[in-house]
Symmetry: C3
Subunit: 120 residues, 3 copies
């Protein structure tokens, strides 16, 4: 019998939350920007880079991403987020995406929740 759930790494912000979980061939991971700078574009690049790193830690890359939920502290930052997204996304492997304005804690401008396929 194999353990069907793989938990990789803690949140960098709390010892009581996970950062990457995989189950039934699907990985879910969450990221914010490491540097809480005032530019949503820069935070977006940073958070997307953290997603890349989380995927790499699980042995996959962004071509396996299936969905991305984008949470912005200011929906007016969507053009800046989109600029970072367009520079980053794998255009042959487009994820389904929704982008919502919500309240985030502290100086976070961007939060991402990503699902990806472990096998493809």
């Amino acid at each position: 019998m194999t353990a069907a759930i793989t938990r990789i790494g803690q949140s960098r912000y709390s010892p009581t939350r996970g950062r990457i979980v995989a189950h039934a061939g699907v990985l879910t991971t969450v990221a914010t920007a490491t540097k809480k700078v005032p530019s949503a574009y820069e935070q977006a690049r940073d958070a997307l880079n953290n997603i890349d790193q989380n995927l790499a830690e699980a042995g996959i890359d962004k071509s396996r991403i299936t969905t991305v939920m984008v949470y912005l502290a200011n929906i007016s930052d969507k053009p800046g987020f989109n600029r970072a997204w367009d520079e980053w996304v794998d255009r042959d492997k487009l994820p389904v995406r929704a982008c919502l304005g919500v309240d985030l804690e502290g100086d976070d401008l961007v939060e991402l929740v990503v699902t990806a396929a472990l096998d493809a």
Copy 2:
């Protein structure tokens, strides 16, 4: 070896986002209303209809839906959304649902993120 991820269609609003993705037997799709009219009830009907069309494009229908995340630009529109939902939902196949007030871009009043089972 088969490709485990199926990507169907681009977003109607951007060439860098997908509209439907399927992996491991689960389809995820996103929709807003096509016509950005001022009535949340009308936008809800429109967005739910777009979900129906996306599911049809993947060969399934609303009886296979497992979860629906409902995002409203004004949480006070929830009664109007619920009216459209009650007219639309398959009462023998109730999805799990959450309904949240968030900021949406432009004139969107409703955004939906839906997961469904490809086989049942």
Copy 3:
């Protein structure tokens, strides 16, 4: 041929929404607090307890949780939510979590959407 989707229980708030759905080895469930008291900490405990009950109804427990989406009516309640979370979470089985401030209906201060593995 087996039915791949299992729908357990209606929402306690509406006859047109489900409370627990399972498909492809993954359970999704939603909860708010039963008692809409003014304390976010108390609502968090209550909602997390409702998650426990929903999981139990499906024959599993919180050790199987993979992801938790936390929606707070006031992001400033995050410390109170975290207190309830830290008292509740299985520290050997940390879920991936995101916590967002959104508008909720009525007196709800906390809403949770949880995914869990049916087998592990």
